[in-house]
């Protein structure tokens, strides 16, 4: 898919110029995204609809309502409408920017989401930054110092990091750096930028530790692959400085797989935040999703799933778009294929 889309982009560029190509490509991607979202929404909507359990039983919360009361509740929430009608109503609402109303939180879904999104974005953003800086950095260092003690240390870190689930990391970080040493707060989101950053450090490490290890491993092997290539050896034998070879040939070529993997990991992170959020008493979209699924709060689940799918599609679209820029071979290959 990446290659095919890239082909189209390049193809467009030749005929209509760079700007036109970009426009066509972006348009195409937006369309793909819309279709993806639509299909996803339908799948999610129908799976919730088919899931066992009755939302009414959550709404009545333990009392035994009369049949009239149950009928009134069903009517009020539209549970009696046939499935296609419910889906259509919901879709119409979403198109007009109305995500519906959460019956669990007695609020509109966008209010519920907006109250949780900033914390999750900060958490995922910080974790992504750590993955990019630490994960990629360690991978590069390992590859350049292959076989040395530094490399062994990096490999050890990778092995340990990949084996530590985020909840274990959360417990360890919290009890050592939070409770014992008192360096970091153990609960809450914080207020104000600095305080928020202070609060988000430990959760972000806990969240990203496994992903960092993966990215380090991918980076290291991609770099090693490139370092072994003929043109790199030739360049080095011609006396070009190692740093410029690494920067211009090795790193640039290795970046493709690194970016692809990182993009997938980061966009997937939005849903893996629940455990970390719970451990640090933060409130974000991850824990909200778990709660909403369990309480059959259709509207909220629907909105979060769409959000995650959108994030996924957006991040991967960005990756696809920058791919030809960082790896000219893709563009070149696509161009000559025509």
């Amino acid at each position: 898919m990446t290659a095919a889309l890239a082909t189209t982009a390049v193809d467009g560029a030749r005929r209509a110029g760079r700007f036109g190509a970009l426009a066509v490509s972006v348009l195409r991607r937006l369309l793909t995204m819309a279709v993806t979202l639509l299909v996803t929404s339908f799948v999610v909507f129908s799976s919730l609809y088919l899931a066992p359990g009755d939302p009414v039983s959550f709404l009545v919360r333990g009392r035994s309502p009369s049949p009239q009361e149950i009928a009134a509740i069903r009517e009020q929430y539209g549970f009696n409408d046939p499935f296609p009608e419910r889906y259509w109503h919901w879709l119409q609402g979403v198109l007009q920017g109305d995500l519906g109303r959460s019956y669990l939180f007695h609020q509109s879904v966008d209010q519920v989401l907006w109250s949780r999104l900033p914390a999750s974005m900060l958490l995922v953003g910080t974790a992504a930054l750590m993955i990019a800086v630490v994960g990629v950095g360690a991978g590069i260092v390992g590859a350049l110092r292959r076989g040395t003690r530094t490399d062994t240390a990096v490999l050890l870190m990778v092995t340990v990091g990949a084996a530590v689930p985020s909840f274990v990391a959360a417990i360890m970080l919290r009890s050592v750096l939070g409770v014992r040493l008192g360096w970091f707060p153990t609960i809450g989101n914080g207020t104000g930028l600095l305080d928020r950053m202070h609060h988000v450090v430990l959760p972000a490490i806990a969240l990203s530790v496994t992903f960092m290890a993966l990215v380090t491993r991918v980076t290291r092997s991609a770099m090693l692959d490139e370092l072994r290539r003929e043109h790199v050896e030739v360049a080095l034998s011609r006396g070009m400085s190692k740093s410029s070879v690494v920067r211009r040939h090795v790193l640039r070529n290795a970046l493709g797989p690194i970016v692809t993997v990182s993009g997938l990991l980061v966009s997937g992170m939005l849903v893996s935040t629940a455990i970390v959020e719970t451990a640090f008493g933060m409130s974000g979209v991850g824990s909200l999703l778990v709660q909403a699924v369990n309480e059959m709060d259709f509207q909220v689940v629907q909105a979060i799933v769409l959000l995650v799918v959108a994030a996924f599609v957006v991040v991967n679209t960005l990756v696809d778009l920058v791919y030809p820029l960082i790896d000219p071979r893709v563009a070149a290959a696509a161009g000559s294929a025509r």
Binding site: P52, G53, D54, S57, F58, L59, V60, R61, G62, R63, S64, P65, S66, Q68, E69, A72, I73, Q76, R101, L104, F105, H106, Q107, Q111, V112, S115, R116, A119, I171, R174, S175, G178, V179, G182, P185, T186, I187, G188, N189, T278, A279, F280, G281, S283, G284, S287, L288, V290, Q291, V293, N294, E295
Partner: protein, 565 residues
């Protein structure tokens, strides 16, 4: 019928549980005073031998040292965020312990489990089917408007409105009408006599909100954006969804004795038990109700604050959900209870801070009934001391050897895991084939509201409290067809006793009929009672003054908290 409330679920450590509390009431006005005198056996300073060991004991504290002065603010932990603070949807620990400080009911449920006047200065019971309330004058809502009988009528009526779908519709099931019958008088007419109705007005069902606010906020009433507008010692300040909810002292509060000592209370939502305990120790949180039992020892030894225990109406029970399987035979249920090492459970699962239960209600729930009566009732009950050999023989007579029983458990709190293991062991000991079905905490909560979630499960654990000081609150939920009668247990004698207790007017007759229902329940064991436990509360070293008691669900406990000297 009845459903009483549902209740709950597990305890503290997680979201769960909803339980109602109740009080015993006597029929008329003067009764409240009489009640105050009949206290319960478990008072302040009573030492309870720690089950299983003779050495240690836990003590109940009626009141922690009085506050030395005001405090600007303190932070309190909740194990879950409320989904709303509309009193009609407040049926669980988190919303109720907040609202207890913000909204007031017609009557007040005190920490010693008595009731006294609240927003009603007095009430009368002129006929078996009517209750007349005199509304207090000079009370202001947080927005400055004055409380009127119309506010009371509008607030109570919401519990009858199917559109609202109040969680508290059950206590109102016998209500015919609620009307203003004088400038400051409200009359409730019942379809049939109901000895518990008035008692519920000391809990959430009796909450009074401004009629104008209810009308203005509509469906948004009680949500994070709108909050509530009541008459309590604290007013709603702000609610940062997912994070915290802040209450502010209300300077116009009517009751001088309960003016808030703290300028502000900040509730933070921490669902992970270890996270809460850590926050107590770092001082990030000043206190919280329902301390995880696994942390009792740690917190007792901590310099960060003090752990207290108070009076409770909670009983941990194993609910028999499937009467079509091997547990359908009462002998098997009796055998199972006899084979459960309940003393061992108290020791391992409740940190020793609990007592083996002799019935499905805590003795505190009978307060208001003369001690001698209660003792007589308890004495008549069958007891099930630990005796696996006898239990096995009993089960063998029922011919269920080798049959499978599924016990639900949830991994997220250690108590549930420990108890489930013990119950499985007991099932094995009497020749059954136990299978533990571990489900997520949220799904576990769903067992209490969703029949589909309970399918295929024979037994599950609950920590069930009553919302009033009256055993009828518990036993009523086991009547045929009651919502919380999860196993669909049905016993005509039991149903008749409950009906008799509900319509009886004389407290002695109510107690006798309730006692009869209790006798049947303990012989038939639709639920297996495990242990009773006290309420736990942790106070950090900055604050003091609270009265530890299950009444914290409806009594303005935070108003009494101030600075430690």
């Amino acid at each position: 019928m009845p459903a009483a409330c549902p209740s709950p679920v597990r305890r503290p450590d997680r979201r769960s549980a909803r339980r109602p509390v109740r009080r015993t009431l006597t029929a008329a006005v003067a009764a409240a005073a009489a009640l105050a005198l009949t206290t319960l056996s478990a008072c302040s300073g009573t030492a309870h031998p720690k089950a299983g060991t003779a050495d240690a004991a836990y003590r109940l504290t009626a009141k922690t040292p009085a506050a030395a002065g005001p405090v600007n603010s303190f932070t309190w932990s909740l194990f879950a965020e409320p989904t709303s603070i509309d009193y009609a949807y407040s049926f669980d620990y988190p919303p109720n312990q907040i609202l207890a400080n913000v909204c007031e009911s017609l009557l007040r449920w005190n920490p010693d489990l008595t009731t006294s006047p609240g927003l009603a200065t007095s009430y009368t019971h002129p006929t078996p089917t009517s209750w007349v309330y005199q509304i207090r004058s000079g009370v202001r809502f947080h927005d400055g408007t004055t409380l009127t009988a119309d506010d009371v009528v509008a607030s109570l009526r919401r519990n009858l409105d199917p559109e609202v779908a109040s969680n508290w519709a059950y206590p109102f099931r016998n209500v015919k009408s609620i009307d203003r019958t004088g400038p400051s008088q409200v009359t409730v007419s019942l379809k049939s006599p109901d000895s518990t109705f008035n008692k519920y007005l000391a809990a959430s069902p009796g909450t009074v909100e401004s009629a104008a606010t209810l009308k203005k906020d509509g469906k948004d009433y009680g949500n994070p954006a709108k909050g509530v507008n009541c008459t309590g010692p604290f007013s709603f300040g702000s609610w940062t969804s997912g994070q915290s909810l802040v209450l502010k002292r209300f300077d116009g509060y009517w009751d001088a004795k309960l003016k808030a000592k703290a300028g502000e209370v900040k509730f933070v939502f921490l669902s992970d038990p270890t996270t809460r305990v850590n926050a107590f120790q770092t001082g990030e949180v000043d206190g919280g109700w329902m301390v995880p039992p696994h942390a009792y020892a740690q917190l007792k030894a901590s310099q960060a604050g003090t752990l207290y225990f108070g009076r409770n109406t909670t009983v941990a029970s194993e609910i028999v959900n499937n009467l079509k399987g091997p547990l359908g035979d009462a002998r098997v249920r009796q055998a199972l209870l006899m084979a459960i090492d309940r003393k061992g459970i108290v020791k391992a699962g409740a940190g020793g801070v609990a007592d083996v239960a002799d019935s499905l209600v805590s003795s505190n729930t009978w307060s208001g009934t003369p001690d001698s009566t209660v003792k007589g009732l308890l004495k008549a009950l069958p007891s099930y001391p630990y005796d696996p050999v006898k239990a096995k023989a009993l089960a063998a007579r029922a011919g269920v050897t080798g049959q499978k029983v599924v016990i639900a458990s949830s991994p997220l709190d250690s108590q549930t895991t420990i108890i489930t293991q013990a119950v499985a062991q007991a099932a094995k000991a009497i020749g059954l084939n136990p299978q533990i079905d571990t489900i997520s905490a949220d799904k576990y909560t769903a067992l209490f509201t969703d029949a589909a979630a309970r399918k295929g499960i024979d037994l599950f654990l609950t920590f069930w409290y009553t919302s009033i000081t009256d055993p009828l609150d518990m036993y009523g939920s086991l009547q045929t067809g009651a919502f919380s009668n999860y196993g669909n247990w049905s016993n005509p004698q039991f149903d008749a006793a409950i009906d008799a207790a509900t319509v009886a007017q004389d407290p002695a007759a109510v107690a006798a009929a309730t006692g009869k229902a209790q006798q049947t329940a303990m012989e038939q064991l639709p639920w297996l009672p495990l242990y009773t436990e006290p309420v736990s509360v942790f106070l950090g070293k900055r604050i003091t003054g609270v009265q530890p008691s299950i009444a914290y669900l409806y009594y303005p406990w935070a108003a009494e908290i101030g600075a430690r000297g």
